[in-house]
């Protein structure tokens, strides 16, 4: 089964360009107090790499490919899960509404 979407060089460039502007715009207006959680949050988002690693592992044909694929899924899963947990823990402490009044 071939992918239904075929992304050629120029379409890829358009996607990259628009995504880059999106990232720039999102971060550009963030207050300094959120820099650490946001760095951690963006760290979580690139944990999506685990999906690519799963594709590589499921399509592995040799032992070495299986080993590297396994390694990739392991690391990617750690990136995604770890990134989520620490970001969530940090943001949990930011409760501005009931503290503003003091």
């Amino acid at each position: 089964m071939e992918p239904t979407t075929v992304i050629t060089g120029f379409v890829a460039l358009y996607i990259f360009m628009l995504a880059a502007f999106t990232g720039y715009e999102i971060i550009g207006r963030v207050p300094a107090i959120l820099h650490t959680p946001l760095m951690s949050g963006s760290n979580f988002v690139h944990g999506i790499v685990v999906v690519g690693a799963m594709f590589a592992l499921l399509n592995a044909t040799t032992v070495i490919e299986q080993a590297i694929g396994f390694f990739g899924v392991l690391l990617g899963a750690g990136n995604a899960a770890g990134g989520y947990v620490v970001t969530e823990r940090m943001l949990e402490m930011f409760k501005p509404s009931d503290k503003k009044k003091s």
Binding site: I27, H46, G47, L57, F71, L75, V86, E88, L91
Partner: protein, 475 residues
């Protein structure tokens, strides 16, 4: 509905949820829900990834059961370990944990590239191959570099490691890596001997180590942020190779956001990113030390506390040392006593207080310090000259006047908190050590400075007792 269509829909949904989640994370009010939104996107994408089961290549079909079991094990172990480690890590250790998770993402991107490059059946064209190589290179550098950053921040590697002609060595290794990569992509056209591919990855990993080792601990936040952007780019590039738009979008969003964040951090330290990476803090200013006049004058915690109790305005400059001593809760208790007695108290946060920008805000928020008491450096710096007392707890480099005046100091030019302008300065300190950058601090020798020696938490307890016994009664 075919499995591939489901995968495509899930990728679209995940991309939307990531961007929407990050957007929500950019405001304190909605931040908490933002990470949950992004988390749902991740869950959708990972569950859908099991649908690749139905679409593997003919060659991989005999291995499909094994591969699926392997994937489930890797996911289980990876998620389990990360969940456990992420739950138990202390807030003070957050930066190195982010570095570690980030390095893992870079490693995963490099692994995808490695599997692609090892494939003998050719669907390769020059462009995808070059992109695979670049993604692998960046991912591998991010992996080994982040591991070094983690080890340094975690105190597993101490000091910096420099040799003569280091730039030359680094340059040579990088060039060799690049040449090997281009050979694999353009000359061997993706059919290079596995040993060559292996050498390419080994060199890329070595370069990550070489690049990070000479960088001092104080600069690590910038480096982590840079590697965060690197991993994003690597993921984006490998996403193109795999023709997966979700990886491309998520990777590039993080790549650009991370780059901007890196620039903001470097700016806060008054340095360029190139300056951080290529010319490091010099060998810690031994020659600077001798020039400092005056002496360090000690003070009792109780006396300092009572002085603050009768002040009208107190500004607190907290640093990482406060959090290491786990004293932020006691500090806030002391601050509440002061404010109850009518003293105006403000927290002054240097942009790089803690180990990452915004890290100190996280640590104070953990102790329950309300937002409206916490001020950024540029908003509060003009107020130090009106303050009766400035108290520095666990901070050092961010309050060192040498950054303003001493051109030979390695931290010269970095904006600092103007605590030395307060009428009285107290510095709570464990001992007579230097700051993270290894620079001696003139502030500690100034006429209006007294040092309160001791563990920050014990000092805060003494201060609380002093004020309480004073207000509690006169009997």
């Amino acid at each position: 509905m075919s499995p591939q269509l489901l995968i495509d829909i899930s990728a679209l949904l995940a991309s939307f949820l990531f961007i929407y989640g990050l957007k929500r994370m950019s405001s304190p009010v909605t931040a908490r829900s933002g990470i949950v939104v992004a988390g749902v996107g991740m869950l959708v994408a990972v569950l859908a990834a099991f649908l690749y089961y139905f679409g593997v290549s003919e060659a991989a079909k005999p291995h499909l059961t094994t591969n699926t079991i392997l994937a489930a094990i890797a996911l289980g172990v990876g998620v389990g370990w990360a969940w456990w480690s992420g739950k138990k890590v202390a807030m003070t250790s957050m930066p190195q944990m982010v570095a570690l998770y980030n390095g893992m993402g870079g490693g995963a991107a490099a692994a995808i590239g490695a599997v692609e490059l090892l494939k003998t059946s050719g669907h390769h064209g020059a462009l995808p191959l070059v992109v695979t190589i670049i993604g692998s290179l960046i991912g591998a550098i991010s992996l080994s570099g982040s591991l070094i950053a983690w080890a340094k921040l975690d105190g597993r590697i101490n000091g910096t490691w420099r040799v003569k002609g280091q730039q030359l060595i680094n340059g040579t290794v990088f060039l060799a890596t690049l040449v090997l990569g281009l050979y694999i992509a353009l000359v061997a056209e993706g059919h290079a001997h596995p040993a060559v591919t292996g050498a390419f990855f080994a060199l890329a990993l070595i370069f990550g180590v070489l690049m990070t080792m000479p960088i001092g601990g104080a600069d690590m936040p910038v480096v982590i942020s840079l590697y965060n952007a690197f991993t994003g780019l690597a993921v984006g590039f490998e996403g193109y190779v795999l023709q997966n738009p979700a990886l491309m979008i998520a990777g590039m969003v993080v790549g650009s956001a991370g780059t901007l964040l890196t620039l903001l951090m470097a700016k806060a330290m008054n340095r360029s990113v190139a300056n951080v990476i290529f010319s490091n803090f010099g060998p810690a200013g031994d020659e600077v030390q001798g020039e400092i006049k005056g002496s360090q004058k000690p003070a009792e915690a109780g006396d300092a506390a009572i002085n603050m109790r009768y002040a009208s305005k107190v500004i607190i400059a907290p640093g990482y040392g406060l959090a290491v001593a786990q004293a932020q809760h006691k500090l806030f208790e002391f601050v509440k006593l002061l404010t109850d007695a009518g003293v105006e108290v403000k927290f002054a946060i240097h942009p790089v207080a803690g180990r990452m920008p915004g890290h100190m805000n996280v640590l104070l928020a953990e102790a329950g310090v309300p937002y409206d008491m916490i001020f950024d450096m540029e908003d509060v710096n003009g107020e130090f000259k009106e303050a009766d007392v400035a108290i520095v707890i666990g901070a050092n480099d961010t309050v060192n006047p040498a950054a303003r005046t001493n051109k030979s100091s390695p931290i010269y030019g970095m904006p600092i908190l103007n605590v030395d302008q307060a009428k009285q300065v107290y510095v709570v300190k464990r001992g007579q050590g230097k700051g993270y950058s290894g620079v001696e601090n003139e502030l500690f020798f100034a006429d209006n400075t007294n040092l309160v020696y001791g563990d920050a938490q014990k000092v805060m307890v003494q201060m609380i007792q002093a004020v309480k016994s004073l207000d509690g009664g006169g009997h």
